[in-house]
Structures are given as C-alpha cells and as structure tokens.
Symmetry: C2
Subunit: 353 residues, 2 copies
Amino acid sequence: MERIGEVVKRIKPVDKRLMERTQERLDSLTKPIESLGRLEEFAKRIAGITRKNNPSLEKKVIFTFAADHGVTEEKVSAYPAEVTGQMVYNFLSGGAGINVLARHVGARVVVVDMGVKEKLKVKSKKLKVKKIGYGTRNMAKGAAMTKKEALSSILAGIEIFEEEFKKNGIDIAGIGDMGIGNTTAASAILAAITKVRVKDVTGRGTGIDDLQLRNKIEVIKQALRINRPNSADPIDVLAKVGGYEIGGLAGVVLIAAANEVPVVIDGFISTASALIATQLAPLVRDYLFASHKSVEIGHNIALREIEQRPIFDLNLRLGEGTGAALAINIIEAGVKILNQMASFEEAEVSEKL
Amino acid sequence: MERIGEVVKRIKPVDKRLMERTQERLDSLTKPIESLGRLEEFAKRIAGITRKNNPSLEKKVIFTFAADHGVTEEKVSAYPAEVTGQMVYNFLSGGAGINVLARHVGARVVVVDMGVKEKLKVKSKKLKVKKIGYGTRNMAKGAAMTKKEALSSILAGIEIFEEEFKKNGIDIAGIGDMGIGNTTAASAILAAITKVRVKDVTGRGTGIDDLQLRNKIEVIKQALRINRPNSADPIDVLAKVGGYEIGGLAGVVLIAAANEVPVVIDGFISTASALIATQLAPLVRDYLFASHKSVEIGHNIALREIEQRPIFDLNLRLGEGTGAALAINIIEAGVKILNQMASFEEAEVSEKL
C-alpha cells in the first residue's frame, strides 16, 4: 500500500494556466473561434497534462491486460473461460481487433497476463507475465481476491507502465482488457461504489440472452450480499468483486497520471478500473479521456461517476483497448491542429469584422 | 444537362449480396458478433460500394472547393468576403485546418477555385481553376446564378474528379467547402427543398450574433420570396439560391458514385451539395457517409433528408473537409478490421457456447 500511496502523492493538478494560454493560441489560428470544437479541447487538455506548449503524441501505447474470473462458474458469459487465454495468443500473433486498430493509429500493444487461468505457453518477449493468480475466485461464493492480491494487481500495473515508460517512452496510454466474465466484475464494482441498482448497471457482455442476463444480475446481487464490499474503500471493492486485470489497469491510470501522461480509457471494464483509480486519487480525472460510449448499459453511469464525456459512439463493445486506439488518433488530430495550423497573422488572413 | 444525365445513368445500386457475405465474414472474426458496431457497418458498406471483397482505402482525396457569394453584401457573415481567397492561399501553403487533418489521415487535398471573387495569383499546379464567375450574384436581389452557370458548376466538379481519378486514383473521396457567405446559401437550399421554416435551418455560420442572425434569416426569406425556386427542381434551387462550390461538390458526389467510389460528406455546406445530388440521383445515398453532426442547427434536418447518420459529433463547424478527413480515417479502420483480423478458426479460439 505504501508504494501505491507514493504514486498517488506524486499526482499533481494539471496546468490550468497553460491550458488558458493554449486556448489563446488556438484562437489565433486560421479558423473561426472554437470552430474545431472538441479537437481544441483535446489539444488544450493535452497541453495542461503534459505541461508542454507543443506536445507530441508520437509514442502511443495500448495496455491490454488479460485475466480470468472464477465467477464464470456461474454461467455469466456467452463464451467459455478458455477464450481468455486463446485471445492472448491471438494478441501475440497480431490477429485480434486491438492489433488491427493499434497498427492503424501507430500504437504499440503491451499484452499482460495478469492472471489467466492456465499457464500460457509463450516464449515471446511480447507477453509480460504478472500473474497474481490462476483466475480469481468465484465472487458469488466469497471474495474474488485477498486484499494483498488486490494491492499486488495494482502494483503490477504500476510496474508494467514504468518498465515501458523507461525503456521506450510513452506520450499517451490507452487501457484495454480481456477476460471472460469481466463485465460481471465491472458491474459489481460499479454497483458497489455508486449504490446504483444492479440491474441498471448490468448488460449483455459478449452477448447473453434474457435468461442469462437475469441470472447474471442475480449472481452479482449475491456477490454483493455475501461480500459486503465497503463502498468507501476501493481496494476492498476491487478485492471482493473485482479482477486482476481491472486492478492492473487502475495501477496504469495512477502511474500514468503521476508521470503526466494522458490516459485514454476504452469501454466498460477499463472505466471500472478508472473508477477505482479516481477513488484512490481524485486528481487523476483530469488525466483521463473517455474514448467511447459502450453498448453496455452501465457505461454511462460509470462515465458520469468519473466525470468524463465520451469522444464518440460507434456501438462498440469489444474491449481490448479498441475504442481507446481510435480515440487516441482523434486526440492526436487535435494536438496537430495546435502544432501545425497557421495563425491569421502568418497566413495574412483577415480577422473577424 | 446531357452530360450530367449520362453520369446519373451510370450510378447503379450497391452490391447488397456482397454486403451480406461481408457481414458473414465479419461474424467469423475473433470478436463477439457485431461487437465492433458501426466499424462493421462501414466495412460492409465499403465492400458493397466498391464491389470488392477486400477493399483498400489507400488513396484518399479531399476535394475542397472555394467560391464567393454575392449575398455577403447583406452582411450575413462574421468575416469579410476577401477571406475566401486568402484561405485558398492558406490551403496551398499547407497551413489550414484541412491541410493538417488531411496529412494526419494520409489524404491528398485537391483545392479548386470554383468562383472566388478575385483573380488568384497562384502559379502552383496545386490550385485547379474552374471559375464559373467572380462570385455569385446577391440572391437577395435576384438569382445567384443562371441555369447555365449552375449546370457548369456541376460539370466542373465532374471534370475535377475525373482528372484526379484517372491521374492518381481515388479509393475514397471527402468533400469540403470554403466560401464566406455559404451557410446562407446552404440554409436557403435546404429551406427551398424541404420547405422547413427558414429559422429552423439557419445558424450562426462562422459566428454571428443574435442581431446578425435575425438579419440572415430575413435575407434568406427575401431570397426565397424573390426567386421562388422550384423545390422539385434541384438545378433551379442551385441556380437561384446556391453557390458555385456547392454545385461543384454535387458534381463530385455524382461522378464518384458513378465510379463506385464512396463519398464522405463534411458539414452543413457539403450536405447541401449531397442533397442536390440525391435529388438528381436518389441512388447516390448508398454511396454517402456523413462524417459528423455539425453545430449548424439545420444540419440534422439536412442529414435526415439524405438519410444519413453521422459518424461522430465533436462540435465542429469549420468546413473545408475537416470532419470528412477524420471520418475517412474511422471508415478505414473498419475496412482494416475486415481485411486484417483473424477468424476464430485461424486463431483457434473457441466460439460462443
């Protein structure tokens, strides 16, 4: 906990003065005032986060964290649990959705085994192994993790980011997840922290039917009843109804903010991670960008809780960091507007009458 | 008119069978069914438009057409008319918003002088000159153009596209505009064709105040009263209350569809062009993508009229093709999903339970 506390303490408010100066510069460019809308907001926020007049988002990294969930015993998912591990192999061979979209936007993908239930047979350096366990325990029957495991998962995320940051540099980070059963964990976390009714934050995940959805809601209710997570203690919530990958991504959010690196969250699961992180360190909110509005019904509530407005809504619900990859590209467009557009003076264009 | 009629006749329905087969392929990829939402829709539509199993959107072109508007005499804009020509110079030197965003997405920008009010002093081959006149006439006092000029503007757009298509190839086209006063023309076109009240389709353009907005609405009402455009005759509407760049972009839409090339429309002005084109050839609707929902209040009505749902909403209102550039990038992401993702079989991932 001490190490996490140190990271939290390093997180400072963003530079509001530089954001104001950046808006002044944006207003001097050859376009009507604020006519590039949210692209200008992105440029301004990136300046405030990075403390740079002309920030660059060249080094883009998507952190895709995978782990299994004991709660899949309760038949909460449309897919078998072994898909988590199979998809990790797919990430490593470059055939998954996140690989395609990360290549499209020029981002690297860092794949981490945070606790897949089998031992993965991969020699590739591309896979980082930070196994906290071989899948969490079934939250419907007791705590998913011990408090120690929950803290370890956050620390593992911190370490993964730091390694990558020191070795290759990171200008902007996206966070994504893979874990059969993890919308159940995300819904449980959200219900535990916000006290919103379980049925209002529980959706169809990878595609379950009405009957399975009713079962999923009951399973989450049971998990909350049995475990009684303390809504004021994000570590307790994470331990009792969370997941290893969710804890790990919360760690990435914290350490990124501590290093003045903007973080782009993906869909429902990574928003649950960001929620854990904002509960630990409210200042991280200013370092976050919400990429998209997921199809998952709880996502809106989660986004409101962390005070984020999504950049787009394309009916995505894949996870892995796919929405984050696309959003990073749009945020970068805003930054390039700031860095590359000519001013009225430079271009000798007449100003407003 | 004969040449335009020939182009219209060449426009065929998109390939619905290939779209179905493409959805089947998308469903075999390693992701839950339809979990990439609209990205899958884009991939499918691009296949149907191009008649290719594995379409490529490598060759991206933004057509940015500039022209002046006589109606600026009525003080309908926040900027002086000479800004149109000044911005053309800015486009050619690479400092405008569209240059930055086109570079960001790997698109070429084709800048065309369709009728800027001065003779531009440019030797660069980068500027195509298709001047129909030195600015339209003031629509508040009579027709903006003759019928012949309106037809010539559409033909000029057709020629520009064909030159570029033959010389360099075009896999996807974006359309954008520059013309001080052209939101007035776009609102007038929309009111004339849809018969919606002028005040419901008239917005603040580059940023006029309440008083100026009331004046703009009165000017448009007067233009419609004096000219009585025939709502069933898009050429008549274009001639009486349109603009050279609007006619030119309508020509691009028609010839692109005739060549099985998808067209991405930008904001309010280019949607008015697409509206003219769909009135001339209803089949072009299936070749269109609406990039974004503009801040202009009439844009929603215009999009509904051409049956398009915007891809994003970032509060843009710059024009030039800026929204189209960003949208092309997102559409391309969808196409790459189709072309590059592994199937369940290839990746040996278990399917749904």
